[in-house]
Symmetry: C2
Subunit: 362 residues, 2 copies
């Protein structure tokens, strides 16, 4: 919409300058194959349904009452699944909210925070929102994080692992190197995609007082529609997140979100089985695409980052869209010849492959 | 918990100074009568249950997909119920999140914002969080807002109407006076309790380009457990809220929250009937308490603010607690001889009256 200069006077001056994040689209098209926002192709654990049914008991009478502002039941379930203490857990309304609180809690410092040039595009948005200084460090030519770059003076570090949209993972030993080089900075490892084959840094939380690990239920737990994210860290860092959260919104987790997420964390077998299915489908899809001439970065995520040297990526994305297949295309320096493709079921991936083979590249 | 000075170095300096909001407690005691957080004594509309069941269809498969980041269905339902356009509606994760975004969007100004000394105690917290300057204006001796005080230079105004915890409402004409006196400031009317007999300022939105009205589903719609709040304003102000929201969290409303709240807004008859029941019970309770010597401020809310001249209020709250009845007591200047008592069902209110008559004041 057009806002006049006169109307703009009502906005806080700093808000006039904001450049908000733009999420992947959620179109409502029939027979669409949606491989653009890294959702899981499988439904959540059947126990989620039962847990929500329980909230609805007695005419949903319990909805009239505020939820537990601490979401203690959820913290307990996460702690048990992650093998940490309850005091090591922070929860929020999606990992986006958790990340926002992380930026406010730790990164408003004299020195700039460090993150890669190619990574989750919400980081610069949070930085502007909270007036966090930033220093952006380029990935190398293989789109890998250069660990030595993260040994300079800084006000904090945030690394997505596996990185997005590259899909490439760091070893835990590399993360440990970053932690050791930065004893006075908070190092945040954003593990939105960690459950698809990468190593989690949660095992390092007990040892490093400067580590925050952030995860989400949106990908590996098939709960993107629920908005539940969490962070794991030592209690003195969790306390900062709680102070921020309680200065912003006392009750961010609704009763359905708490109950459903608890049920998901309690069903470890289902969770592991679904992750394995996605990993197996990914490996199959990568082989198929490579056989067609695609270059695919080595993925530890539920998506791949692929380019076809003979074909413009933006054009390819547009042609796939005409076939009812949506992938994510970033028209940005360095990555504008890549497509980010979410791993679907084998059947869905086959539709993508067939469409490429038989129509677009025929 | 105790955090050492050394550990504190990880916190953003400004976060070290935060004094977070403290919500009313949510204790888990058997046979407790909970009259402390202004929840509705009646369950939500039966249509809420059906709407959530629909989300669970097909093994809750839809949960694996992100919700609509715009929550358009909810904006439409609110617009229809409030008789405004869809472009006049902003939604958030409880009205607390909506208020937080309001503070960031409009109140980070050179001049201080104005609000009463006795009002929602989250306002100073947001102000500190977003570095908003404030000027606090005392209510008069009858605990009323002095409209003329809100005609001085300011960077914004926020008024709870009916006010909390006083329960006293302003007429819409008084709000219009404030709006007219402040053509260059955003005036926010926080109507969390408006549906229990006060006049809403939503009718003024079309006329005043500087008005934001904020409401919640937590009280009158019995959905405190769901976390859905909203704001109504002209589109150029809604745009500021969207810019802030999209710089913080793209998907704050989960699929259950959207579906359940839509169902609630579509059931106007149920909503009105429940509000009338609460109002009738309030009037009865006030008469009972006054007959016992209580002074009760004139309430247009789903709670009353009452004092008993012969008795210390803090002591009275403690004695009620011993009887399993929790009310809210604020140990703050000017109001430390009052109790804020949520209106329950007639049966619940009678338990309070009986407890006072037969035990505590016998």
């Amino acid at each position: 919409m057009n806002i006049t200069t006169e109307q703009m006077r009502f906005w806080s001056p700093e808000v006039r300058e904001l450049e908000p994040y733009i999420p992947g689209e959620q179109p409502k098209i029939q027979n669409l194959l949606k491989l653009n926002t890294n959702e899981n192709p499988y439904p959540p654990s059947p126990k989620v349904v039962a847990a929500v049914q329980a909230v609805l008991a007695d005419s949903a009478d319990v909805l009239r009452l505020y939820p537990d502002p601490e979401a203690s039941a959820l913290k307990h379930a996460i702690a048990a699944q992650q093998n940490v203490g309850v005091a090591n857990v922070f929860v929020g309304n999606g990992s986006d909210e958790v990340l926002a609180h992380i930026f406010k809690a730790f990164f408003v410092q004299q020195q700039p925070i460090l993150y890669p040039d190619i990574t989750y595009s919400f980081y610069p948005v949070y930085s502007q929102f909270f007036a966090v200084k930033t220093k952006v460090l380029p990935l190398n030519d293989d789109f890998e994080i250069v660990v030595d770059d993260y040994k300079q003076a800084n006000g904090g570090i945030i690394i997505t692992n596996p990185n997005a949209p590259t899909s490439i993972a760091l070893e835990v030993s590399a993360i440990e190197e970053v932690l050791q080089a930065n004893p006075n900075s908070v190092v945040v490892i954003d593990e939105a995609y960690v459950d698809f084959g990468a190593q989690s840094a949660v095992s390092l939380v007990e040892k490093y007082e400067n580590l925050v690990v952030c995860q989400t239920t949106s990908k590996s737990r098939s709960l993107a529609g629920l908005r539940v994210g969490f962070a794991i860290a030592q209690p003195h860092l969790i306390a900062a997140l709680e102070a921020v959260k309680n200065s912003f919104n006392s009750y961010p987790m609704d009763r359905f979100a708490i109950a459903a997420a608890v049920a998901s964390f309690e069903d470890q077998a289902y969770f592991e089985a679904q992750c394995q299915k996605v990993i197996a489908s990914r490996d199959k899809l990568v082989m198929e695409l490579e056989s067609m001439g695609f270059k695919v970065l080595p993925s530890k995520a539920n998506f791949i980052f692929a380019s076809l040297p003979s074909k413009n990526a933006g054009e390819l994305a547009a042609q796939l869209r005409e076939q009812g297949i949506i992938v994510r295309y970033f028209n940005k320096p360095r990555i504008n010849q890549f497509l980010r493709i979410t791993i679907g079921t084998d059947e869905q991936n086959q539709r993508l492959v067939d469409s490429l083979k038989n129509d677009i590249l025929a």
